[in-house]
């Protein structure tokens, strides 16, 4: 009982923030149930690509490779997934193609940073520029797909008021992203693979002297991470929007990095952070609906980025990145 109280005291700022957000949302929703529920449901949807991007960044950085190419991986996969669905009319094939494309981009990043020992920031930038250029060049306006990924209600759970609408009436990739948060958390902190991943991100030569192959582990992480970023891309074109637009990621890959840092390289933390950023997006729509700040729409658009700046400026100092990120590893 006592420890519960201590926990509450320790987490008081988070609890207050959480209650504040709920109170503000009810106010913004004009004290009616439907718009309030809608804001929270939108929060979850907006957070999906961010949490997937953050998980990708986390797998890479935990193994010692900075991936600022998440944006490019997402954009390329969004395009490939959309094109495949548009050609084959199969959403499954589209999502699979997005996943494969992300994995390939991850392998490419591995080639540049692990095999060629290139600078990780430049390698990531290469992916971003390549993705933007290629997708803009190859995209044919007017291509369409028939439908987005379908919404799935999870049986009676979906009928629970408020909670059911928010959590149990979503599209497949949104569910899968929630599942992935748990899977990646377990893998990172409870399995042999996770221990080795964390070790090579902190002190690669220590891992190498006990027989862990740094190169192999980094490739593995970059490819899995790339696949997750690919799903984020597929989410954007096949689940959220239902079409492809030039530069449709619009900085989400970078916001995902902020989410990862804010979540302190921990999947559960990143999920919480992604919800906060998702919320800033979701609330924008409600601002417009209520007619607030309509004279200055640019301010509404700024909200997510202002939150990014505040969060990064205020919290980065307290978070500690894996020690070996950014440095190519060479055996002596």
């Amino acid at each position: 009982m006592n420890s519960l109280l201590q926990r509450i005291i320790r987490l008081r700022w988070w609890i207050l923030t959480f209650l504040g957000i709920i109170a503000f949302t009810i106010f913004a929703g004009d004290f009616r149930l439907d718009p309030t529920t809608a804001i929270f449901a939108a929060t979850l949807r907006h957070s999906t690509p961010l949490v997937l991007g953050a998980l990708c960044g986390m797998l890479c950085e935990r193994s010692g490779v900075i991936n600022i190419g998440i944006e490019g991986q997402m954009l390329m996969s969004a395009f490939v997934g959309f094109s495949v669905t548009s050609t084959t009319s199969s959403l499954y094939l589209g999502v699979a193609a997005g996943l494969a494309c992300g994995m390939l981009m991850g392998a490419a990043l591995g080639g540049l940073t692990v095999s060629l020992q290139g600078d990780q920031i430049i390698a990531g930038t290469v992916l971003n520029i390549a993705a933007l250029g290629l997708t803009s060049f190859l995209y044919t306006p007017g291509e369409t797909i028939h439908s987005k990924t379908p919404r799935i209600d999870i049986g009676p759970l979906a009928d629970i008021p408020v909670i059911g609408t928010i959590f149990f009436s979503n599209q497949p990739l949104t569910y899968f992203s929630l599942l992935l948060v748990g899977i990646i958390w377990y893998a990172l902190f409870k399995t042999t693979w996770g221990l080795r991943t964390r070790a090579i991100g902190e002190h690669p030569s220590a891992a190498e002297t006990v027989g862990v192959s740094v190169a192999k582990m980094r490739y593995l992480n970059l490819i899995i991470g790339g696949g997750i970023a690919g799903l984020a891309g597929a989410y954007l074109s096949l689940e959220a929007v239902g079409s492809f637009e030039r530069n449709m990621t619009n900085g989400k890959g970078f916001v995902a990095l902020a989410v990862m840092i804010f979540g302190r390289w921990n999947p559960v933390g990143a999920w919480g952070a992604a919800l906060l950023f998702g919320y800033t997006n979701a609330i924008q729509t409600q601002f417009q609906f209520r007619g607030w700040l309509t004279g200055h729409p640019q301010f509404i658009g700024m909200i997510p980025f202002i939150v990014t700046i505040v969060v990064l400026a205020g919290f980065v100092g307290k978070a500690r990145a894996p020690a070996a990120i950014g440095q190519p590893y060479t055996r002596e």
Binding site: T191, G194, A199, A207
Partner: protein, 508 residues
């Protein structure tokens, strides 16, 4: 005992290794019996580390072969060495700081439960059990970076024992330990040897060789110059084998002629990194032309004292007067310009800019002055001339003054720092652990330089954990205990045991 008949635990024969034009190992032979403690002795750059790195698979030998229990083995990576039951405790620990003790020990060879998950409980129990068995107790759940150095070393040793090493290589294990920790380590090693583990032990400290080794192999300039039973020799004999000439372990120096007070510290209070008092109302005077030695067990405020004088740490209260001028609150640059030279305790971190050239490091305290810079433009010719001159004068062994400083051996790094600090026009020289972890030849050289500085009228403040160094160099000694000087007197008025008691209990 018929050890002659039993196969050798480890045998290296005809090992050759070249780095560019440098011959690091030249036809090196090493024979280690089962259960033997085998000391490997030699100056820095003699090729000891190269040899053990070959034995551990970190380097590949150009020629020669390694046999384990009589069988020839190929060592291409540390993984091969581990599979051949060779373990190594590195000089720079190969531990992941943010992981727990258990995670570090089992990494790469983890026990798993059903479903592929890491079985942490089982691993922790095993670590605890190993620790108890060998007298290396350490909390299996502790995070490595929170542990003191001595305990981190235990983790390194346990990691090899966890992999059931038959041969344990320790690269200068005592360089980072306090005297008590060293004694404990030596006990542990004796216990391991008694269980049949063969131990290869690299050290600079002759006393340890004599205390523990069953056999000692001495290397010089990449070659084995001899292998002997330490019982048949003494410190002087070993030192001579190492450097190839007789070594003056006692420093020849004349009577000091102290002059005016240069440095005067009054009631200084300084906090340590955890904001606990490190120096408490500390007072000290150092005079021109004397060496004042600060003796003490490490962690009694020595580091904070040096940092406070050099402006790297701010004082809570009190004054530091240099020639009567208040220095506390001044920046490190201002203090250096006032005539204080500093040979820092941690040469890698505070003494050198590793990736920069030897030449740049040699002018690090003067690069902004004429003739090394003119209106903000660096004068390469002047810098190179000065660097070549200093490299020659201080016998720094480097292929080129343009090589990165980090590529030098420990002794040569220290010579670079000494060359820079001693050629700086100074009135006070602060030397913190000036000979830590360097070879006998370099120690002798640095000691002579400190005495020369004294004789030319510089006030020298020597901080060292080596009591022998304090006793042989100092004109006056102050014993520091819990942030205060508990005794100050001319060296001849102290006995060794008296200082020992003062260091450990604050009173005699």
């Amino acid at each position: 005992m018929s050890t002659q008949q039993a196969p050798l635990a480890l045998e290296a024969e005809g090992i050759c290794k070249k780095f560019g034009t440098l011959v690091a190992n030249d036809e090196v032979n090493l024979k280690v019996e089962k259960g033997q403690i085998h000391a490997l002795l030699g100056e820095n750059g003699a090729g000891k580390s190269t040899l053990v790195n070959i034995l551990f698979g970190l380097y590949k030998a150009d020629q020669g072969e390694v046999r384990i229990s009589g069988e020839k083995v190929e060592m291409n990576s540390p993984h091969d060495a581990i599979n051949n039951k060779i373990g190594m405790v590195h000089q720079h620990f190969q531990l992941v700081p943010v992981l727990s003790v258990t995670e570090n020990i089992v990494l790469g060879d983890e026990p798993t439960s059903k479903g592929g998950a890491l079985d942490f409980e089982k691993a922790a129990a095993e670590v605890s059990e190993l620790g108890k068995r060998y007298g290396l107790e350490v909390d299996p759940r502790a995070i490595v970076e929170d542990l003191p150095i001595g305990y981190q070393q235990r983790v390194e040793i346990l990691r090899s024992l966890y992999r059931q090493a038959d041969v344990l290589i320790l690269d200068e294990p005592t360089a980072v330990l306090t005297p008590q920790e060293t004694d404990h380590l030596l006990d542990v090693l004796r216990g391991l040897a008694a269980e049949g583990v063969s131990i290869i032990f690299i050290t600079h400290k002759l006393r340890e060789v004599l205390a523990i080794a069953d056999q000692v192999t001495v290397m010089r300039q990449g070659k084995v110059v001899g292998s002997t039973d330490p019982k048949e020799t003494n410190e002087e004999g070993l030192a001579e084998m190492m450097v190839g000439r007789s070594v003056v372990l006692r420093v020849a120096k004349s009577e000091a002629t102290p002059g005016d007070t240069i440095l005067s510290i009054k009631d200084l209070n300084v906090l340590d990194d955890r904001s606990q008092p490190a120096l408490r109302d500390f007072s000290l005077d150092v005079q021109k032309g004397e060496i004042f030695g600060i003796a003490g067990v490490e962690g009694n405020g020595q580091r904070e004292l040096v940092e406070a004088i050099t402006g790297l740490r701010s004082a809570v209260s009190g004054s530091i007067l240099m020639n009567g001028k208040e220095m506390s609150g001044s920046t490190a640059r201002e203090i250096s310009e006032e005539g204080i030279s500093h040979i820092p305790e941690n040469r890698e971190k505070h003494g050198l800019v590793g990736p920069h050239s030897v030449a740049d490091n040699l002018v690090l305290n003067r690069y902004f002055h004429s003739p090394f810079a003119s209106r903000g433009i660096r004068q390469t010719t002047a810098i190179n001339d000065e660097a070549s001159h200093l490299v020659e004068k201080f016998d720094v062994r480097t292929a080129s003054i343009h090589n990165p400083a980090r590529t030098l051996s420990g002794g040569n790094k220290q010579k670079v720092i000494a060359a820079r600090e001693l050629s700086h026009d100074s009135e006070l020289l602060l030397a913190a652990q000036p000979t830590r972890g360097i070879d006998v030849g370099s120690i002798e050289f640095i000691h002579q330089q400190l005495v020369n500085q004294r004789d030319s009228g510089v006030a020298v403040l020597l901080v060292s954990a080596e009591l022998d160094e304090i006793l042989s160099l100092s004109d006056r000694i102050g014993v520091i205990y819990q942030g205060q000087l508990v005794a100050i007197a001319p060296t001849e008025e102290f006995t060794r045991t008296q200082i020992g008691r003062l260091m450990t209990s604050g009173s005699d």
